[in-house]
Each structure stands twice: as C-alpha cells, then as structure tokens.
C-alpha cells in the first residue's frame, strides 16, 4: 500500500513537471511565433537607435585661405514639457546656465500640450555641458553646427548668411548652397543596458560640404569697407558701393557696401541691408557711360582722339535742352577733351553725328549693358536699356541718362578697357575644393588700338585739367571717368538726389586694378570727382601697396 502511494505521488509530480514544461513550451511557441515580430521591434527600440549624421557645411575662404564663413560646433538644448514637473524651477536653472531670460523659457516649459520645445538652438557647447551636468528632468542635448562669420561685417553682403537649419539664405551662402551643404548620413547605434554604444552600423556616411575659395581678399575688402564708411559719413550719403577688380582675370578682390551688417546677428538685422547693391541694384550711370559713346565712335573709325568739335554750352535735342555741368563759352574741343572735361554736349554731338539710335544700341549691347554678367551671386540684375526711343532719347543715352546699369556691369566694362579691350566675366568664386576651377567667359569688345586710345584719353580725366584730379595717386598713372547722375523717381528726376561715381584703373600704363566707387545721395557735394574720386584714391593706394605694385612714375611726377 505504501509503495502504491509513493508511485502515485511520483506520477503526480511527473505530471506536474510535464504540464509545467508543456506550459513553457506553449509560451515559448507563443513568444516565438505570434509575438515574435513585436518583441523583436521592442528589443530593437531599446537597444538600437537610428541617427542622422549631420554633414558639416563647407568653409568659405578668401583667396589667401582666411576663413570668412565657418561651421562651429553648437548644441541644441531640447526639453519635453510633459516630463517636467516643476517648470518654474527648471526654467530658472536652465536660464541661469544658458544666459537666457527666465520668463519666455518658463512659458515654453509650462506648455504641457507639447512634448518638444527648443530651450535654445545652437547654444554654446560649454554652457550646454554645464546645464547637462545639472541633470534636469526632461532635458536632452543634441549636437549641431552653427554658421559663424569670424570677421563679422567683412564681406557680409557678398557672403550672405545661412539660416538656423544651416541652409544658405542670401549671397554666396545661397548661391553655393548645393556645394556647401553636403549630404547628411545615417547610422544605427546599438547600446547596452547602461546606454554605452557597443556597435555602430553606418548605413550611409555623411558627406561634408565642399569648401569654397573666393577671389576676394579679406584685407582689400575690409579696407574698402572702411573707406566707404568714412565716405558715407563725410557726405551724409544714403549708401555707397565699391568694387575692386583684377582686369586681367576678372577676379573680384573686393566688393564692399556701406552700411553693412554682421551676419552673426542673423536674423536681427534689416533684410534691406542684405541686398547686394553692386549686383542687385541698378542706377543711371551718368558720365561714366560716355566711354560707350566715345568707344563706339572710335571703333567705327568715325572719330579719333584728336577730332575737333565746336561745342556750345547747351544743345537742343527734340524738346529738351541739355547743357554741360559748368557754364562756359562756345569752345572747340577734341574728343580727348570731351572725355577729360566730361562734356555732355560733346558726347551727344558724337552720338547724333556718328552713331545714331542703332549705333548706340549696338555698342551698349556690345559693352554688355542690358544683359547679365553671370557673376556668381544670386539676383543679378541685367540693367535697363530704353525700349522706346523718342526724339530726345539720343540726348539722354550718350551721357548715361535713361539707361540703368549695375555697378558690376560698369566695373567689368572698365576692366575690359584696362585689359586691352577684352571683357572677362567678373567672378567671386575661385574654385570649389576638389573641382576644376570654372573658366570665366571672355569676349572682345574693343580692338587693342582703340582701347589704347580710349585708355590714354581716360588718363587725361585724372589731371588738373580733368574732372577727377582727386583720384590721382602719387607715383602712379591713373585713368578713369567720373559720373554725376540724377536719380530718377516715379515722376521725373528727384530734385537734389544724385549718384556720384568714379571708375578708374591703376597703374594706367599696365593696369593691375580697376576700382569703382559709387556714392548714393551725397549731401554738400554731388560730383563724382569730389565725392567718389577721393574714395577711389584711398582704396587704390592701399591696394597698390598691399599687392606690392611698383609705381610707374617718378615720385613727385603726376599721373
């Protein structure tokens, strides 16, 4: 009986064990089949993390390798208000650590309707690390990149700026966004229970943006900006623009405007300041445009620099009377003197007699007015040429009225004159790292012999007989042309509003530089020779010495 009882107990135990194993087997089968997929996902979520690897934005360097726009490490501080139990305290602590204002931050952290708010984007990594150590609940920290312009205002309108998501929004940052931005990568990180990364599976590596080397020289640029600042201040002008060009390559060494802005302060500055006046804005050029009239007539062999004209003080063209800037008796002037003294009557006479409407249209197009230069900046304007020619148009266009041009068009035309008559596309980008440098377009606009004559005549402008005596640089020959143009408004020219311009080349014997200075709405004085020429002299003097261009005159001699 005793043995039977023991046997039945053993059988019971065996049955219990079998049932237990059967239950475990069923559970295993359940987990391995029905729940397999969801549990595997859960396990992956707990150990594997998909990360987007941000691509570093390429650096923009000047021609000597000085970084003008660079990416610096930053930290995005993020909070989940749903996890924050004491928003007042956390706002106070976080604001103190990051140097923020408590009230706006408290408003963000106390909004429990959202699970994600930026406490600060692109915070200093040092301050973010300090805050991280405090271990606040609901705070996370994400690595980011901040676009920095180390030289602050230098070349700001040319460089443009990148937004908070590191996308170029203006200037070269926008134009070259594709090259600068790169492509973000993707990777999966496997972490252990303590959060330590134990494996990283890179699905696609990040491809950093390419660096860009410009033709700009930060020293030439900074000096031009400084000179413009003084000029605008001295003449209480609205704004001013300067371009420094290498006429033999089309490389822009400086493109300055005043007032400028500091792109590091984005988005706190006025958007109007970010407009690149040299490329986006047009203006009536005035007498600097006379090179088109004279150059055209010279090219068609209708005149020579010595051709003489009898010129009264004023001239009737259709219903308009146009006169020279200064009252004078009727005089006989050579073509060279017409340019030297910037005679409106002389330029109109040449245009009426030798070019006419079709000739002027042809030469304006040939010099590149009315079409884009193709400079590597966004929003370039082609300028405006007259669509309808009235009887008086032939009295306006030869002296630079009724046409609108950009500063860069004008500078590139004078660069062509400085380059033996060959126009080279002005450009700011020397090369993108790892790519073949682009080849700027070239085209001949003047025959070398005509160009020599024109350049010789322009030398006469920068003399005590000419309109730009103040552009003279001791030791160097200078050639150039002044312009003083009235500003057009919705109903005719605006009284008292002028644009004073000087475009020159130096040394005139073999030009290394072309410098354009344009001053918008100066007060006190309005003439290009008085307002813009001294700024040209200051900019060119600095650049000549900086670039170690030897003088082409004996000291004491005048150009």
């Amino acid at each position: 009986l005793k043995a039977r009882v023991v046997n039945s107990r053993l059988r019971l135990l065996l049955l219990g064990i079998l049932l237990t194993f059967a239950a475990l087997g069923v559970r295993v089968a359940w987990l391995q089949t029905v729940r397999a997929s969801s549990l595997a996902n859960l396990a992956q979520r707990q150990t594997k993390f998909d990360l987007t690897l941000p691509a570093s934005r390429g650096t923009i360097y000047d021609r000597l390798g000085v970084p003008l726009a660079i990416g610096e490490q930053a930290t995005d501080v993020i909070a989940d208000p749903m996890q924050i139990s004491d928003p007042r305290r956390e706002a106070r602590v976080a604001a103190k650590a990051l140097g923020l204002r408590v009230k706006p931050l408290y408003r963000k952290l106390s909004d429990r309707t959202v699970g994600f708010v930026y406490v600060e984007r692109k915070a200093s990594p040092r301050l973010a690390a300090k805050l991280s150590k405090l271990g606040l609940t609901g705070f996370t920290f994400q690595s980011d990149e901040k676009r920095v312009y180390p030289q602050d205002t230098v070349a700001a309108p040319v460089l443009g700026y990148a937004g908070l998501d590191n996308t170029g929004l203006a200037g070269l940052e926008s134009e070259l966004n594709k090259e600068l931005a790169g492509r973000p990568g993707r990777e999966t990180v496997v972490r252990d229970a303590t959060g330590q990364a134990v494996n990283t599976v890179q699905e696609r590596p990040a491809r950093d943006g390419s660096s860009v080397f410009l033709t700009l020289d930060s020293h030439i640029q900074a000096n031009a900006e400084q000179v413009l600042e003084q000029t605008v201040h001295q003449w209480h002008a609205k704004d001013a623009t300067a371009i420094v060009l290498d006429p033999h390559t089309g490389a822009i060494l400086g493109m300055a405007q005043e007032p400028g802005y500091n792109a590091n302060n984005y988005p706190a500055f006025a958007r109007t300041l970010a407009i690149d006046h040299a490329v986006n804005d047009v203006f009536e050029p005035g007498s600097v445009f006379k090179v088109v009239t004279v150059g055209g007539a010279l090219s068609e062999h209708k005149i020579t620099p010595q051709t003489r004209f009898t010129l009264p003080y004023s001239i009737h063209v259709a219903d308009r009377v146009i006169h020279d800037a200064e009252i004078r008796p009727t005089e006989r002037m050579t073509v060279a003197q017409i340019l030297q003294r910037s005679s409106n009557v002389g330029a109109i006479t040449i245009a009426e007699r030798y070019l006419g409407e079709s000739g002027l249209k042809h030469w304006m197009r040939r010099f590149g007015f009315g079409r884009l230069t193709g400079i590597d900046l966004p929003g370039e304007s082609a300028g405006i040429l007259p669509k309808y020619w009235s009887g008086s148009t032939i009295g306006n266009v030869p002296i630079g009225q009724g046409v609108s041009v950009t500063s860069v068009q004008l500078a590139s035309v004078y660069a062509a004159i400085a380059n033996g008559g060959e126009w080279i596309q002005p450009h700011l980008v020397d090369h993108v790292l790892g790519r073949t440098p682009p080849r700027p377009h070239r085209r001949r606009i003047l025959a070398p012999a005509v160009d020599r004559e024109l350049r010789t005549m322009l030398k006469g402008v920068v003399s005590d007989q000419g309109t730009a005596e103040l552009a003279a640089i001791p030791g160097y020959t200078v050639a150039g042309k002044t312009g003083t143009a009235q500003k057009p408004g919705p109903s005719g020219y605006i009284p008292g509003a002028y644009v004073a311009t000087f475009v020159g080349m130096v040394p005139a014997s073999n030009p290394r530089l072309v410098v354009l200075v344009s001053v918008d709405e100066p007060h006190g004085q309005i003439y290009g020779g008085t307002v813009a020429a001294p700024a040209f002299e200051q900019i060119a003097s600095f650049d000549l010495q900086y670039l170690e261009v030897p003088p082409d005159l004996r000291i004491g001699a005048r150009g």
Partner: protein, 82 residues
C-alpha cells in the same frame, strides 16, 4: 566535452574583444568629432584675430600709420634698379 568548452570560451572571448573594439571605435569617433570641432573653433578664432579692421585698430593704438603707396620703393632684382 573539454574541446567544446574550449571552443565556446574562444567564441565568447572573440565576441568580448569585438565589443571592446566597438566601444573603442565609438570613443575614438567621439574624440575625432571633438577635435574637429576644436579645430574649427580655433580656425574661426584665428580668422577673427587676424581680421584687417582689428589689426588696423591695434596698429593705430600703437601710433602706426598707413604708408603711402607712392613712397614705397621696390627693388628690381633683375636690373638692380629701383
């Protein structure tokens, strides 16, 4: 049985070594990123420090003035002239 135990320990040892290597790689990646960031920050600092307006302000404080372009002499090494 001993052989099986040895093989098993070998597999475990290899896995541990691989894990350690992964951890080391992750740390080195982090270090590389930090160094890159530091390098960028230093390059930016150098650019800011060497900016023309800053140098000019410092030079002016020291009483230096801009030399005139026309008064600068250049030696022509080919002819020996000035």
């Amino acid at each position: 049985m001993t052989l099986f135990a040895l093989l098993l320990s070998g597999v475990v040892a290899v896995n541990v070594a691989v894990l350690r290597a992964h951890v080391a790689v992750a740390k080195l990646d982090q270090q590389r990123e930090q160094l890159q960031a530091r390098n960028q920050a230093l390059a930016s600092e150098v650019s800011a420090a060497s900016s023309a307006p800053r140098i000019e302000r410092a030079a002016r404080r020291l009483g230096l003035v801009q030399a005139s372009a026309g008064n600068t002499s250049y030696l022509d090494l080919t002819s020996g002239g000035r």
